[in-house]
């Protein structure tokens, strides 16, 4: 049984709110880098970047952070394809990095992402934005910006659809 928990207007509102929160929490107005975690995080990062620039016109860099090779479950899972990591040409040293993903669950992807960032440079600050936080953390990690807190059981599946990938905006639980 599939239950829709966020529709397109809900997602738009959540992202807009997160964009405002990011602007509010920004210490300076320079060096904001949105790094999306593939696949859907990349598109959410692009949307958030645009929304933030609308609120507070500024130079915003948007990139992709592939965390595959930093995962802790590689030996027990079948091989995952890697994706290109793309960061600003000037690097991420001294920047404010906003890490963006669709769902926060165990926290293991975020852990891998933090290691991947460390290998790329030394940002001033790293913040974490997610569309959905479904709980069940296995590591001491939390998100700074959350679109929707979604109480789930571990047996449930959270499906995030993003128009750029799935032709519609929707979050459902199955």
């Amino acid at each position: 049984m599939t239950r829709i928990v966020l529709t397109k207007p809900d997602i738009d509102r959540a992202l807009k709110r997160i964009a405002h929160e990011i602007v509010e929490s920004q210490r300076g107005l320079t060096g904001l880098v949105f790094l999306g975690i593939p696949t859907r995080g990349v598109h959410l990062a692009r949307r958030l970047g645009r929304l933030v620039a609308d609120i507070e016109p500024q130079e915003i860099e948007i990139g992709t952070l592939d965390v595959t090779m930093y995962r802790d479950d590689l030996a027990t899972q079948s091989t995952r394809a890697t994706v290109a990591t793309e960061i600003p040409a000037s690097g991420i040293d001294g920047c404010t990095v906003i890490l963006v993903d669709d769902v926060l669950f165990s926290g293991r992807t975020a852990r891998a992402a933090l290691d991947a960032i460390t290998a790329l440079g030394r940002p001033d600050v790293v913040r974490f934005a997610v569309l959905v936080d479904r709980g069940h953390r296995e590591l001491p990690i939390r998100a700074d910006f959350v679109g929707k807190n979604l109480p789930t059981s571990t047996s449930e599946r959270v499906n995030v659809s993003i128009a750029e990938v799935d032709d519609l905006d929707e979050v459902s639980i199955a």
């Binding site: 590689l74 994706v83 290109a84 460390t118």
Partner: protein, 313 residues
């Protein structure tokens, strides 16, 4: 895929996935921090029963870049001289914790024998078995071709429509066999140019066209010319009248390079016999990919180690 023994085992999708991962590994190698934690706690044993510079150093660099521990075994100076068998040698290495065994041997079929008989649980990677196969060389050659010919659009692409000439000592070349089989899987058209004495008997399964002089192959305006090393150490009798005659008919030289399109590339797996199968000026020309192949070799082998680690069956 637990082992990599032959390019024959690779499907088009498998091969493209490895080449795509290698793109990301090239990127890692261009960063300040050139290391990934992926193989932390794993041990890669380089087991070389035959001499090697490039392949051994390349696998070593690849394993270290993925944070693996590396042990290197060369048969010279080992208990092989006391008569220790291959099986015992490999089991000794595994008992010391080897998760991957990168194996080079002068006899064809050794890597397959080790992988099929269950002597060890480790992943086996064939780093050259006699005159049989050298799959990682073929993959890095395909990677180099794809990057040069397809540029930034390379990811996800095969080599459909690419024409490749493999010239020289095909008979003794494991690189030629691995390349011909992989290139066919990737959709390229392969032409072999070699004296009859240096063509293996069973090349029907390679799906290659055969021409009788290099000039004939050059006239086909190929995108790629792979020159092979003349393997004097494997030659027990006279396969061609003289070195000067060989280089005259089968050597890649300036005049032949000028007759190729300026976008064509010349490859050599190394080590080169300059002046025999390839002239020094061709080897050092912008159309030569010799050093690029070496650089890509590390990234490609990182991709192979990563791809195999996900499959322990």
């Amino acid at each position: 895929m637990k082992h990599l023994i032959s390019t024959r085992e690779l499907t088009t999708d498998n091969a493209i996935a490895i080449l795509d991962t290698a793109i990301d590994m090239v990127d890692v190698r261009s960063r300040d921090v050139k290391k990934l934690p992926t193989l932390r706690g794993k041990t890669v044993a380089n087991v070389f029963f035959e001499d090697s510079t490039r392949t051994r150093l390349s696998f070593e660099a690849a394993a270290l870049a993925l944070s693996a521990d590396v042990t290197t075994f060369t048969s010279q100076g080992s208990s092989v001289s006391k008569g220790e068998s291959l099986k015992d040698t490999l089991q000794t290495l595994e008992a010391m914790g080897a998760d991957f065994i990168v194996l080079r041997h002068s006899h064809s079929g050794v890597a397959a024998t080790v992988a099929n008989n269950g002597w060890v649980d480790a992943h086996i990677i064939n780093a050259g078995d006699g005159t049989h196969e050298h799959p990682t060389q073929a993959l890095l050659d395909a990677f180099t071709m794809r990057s040069r010919l397809r540029g930034d659009a390379a990811r996800g692409m095969d080599l459909a429509g690419v024409s490749v000439v493999i010239v020289g000592d095909v008979l003794h070349s494991r690189v030629a066999r691995s390349n011909a089989l992989l290139l066919r899987t990737l959709g390229a058209n392969v032409t072999l140019a070699a004296p009859r004495t240096l063509l293996p008997r069973e090349i029907d399964g390679w799906g290659a066209t055969i021409v009788s002089t290099l000039d004939e192959a050059i006239e086909m305006q190929p995108d790629v010319v792979i020159t092979l090393r003349v393997q004097k150490e494997r030659m027990t009798s006279g396969f061609f009248p003289s070195e000067s005659e060989f280089s005259e008919i089968w050597g890649m030289n300036d005049s032949r390079l000028r007759r190729l399109p300026s976008t064509s590339i010349v490859m050599h797996p190394g080590p080169m016999n300059r002046g025999l199968e390839i002239s020094g000026s061709v080897a050092d020309s912008p159309q030569s990919t010799v050093t690029e192949q070496v650089a890509n070799g590390v990234a490609l082998r990182m991709a192979v180690l990563y791809t195999l680690m996900g499959d322990s069956r």
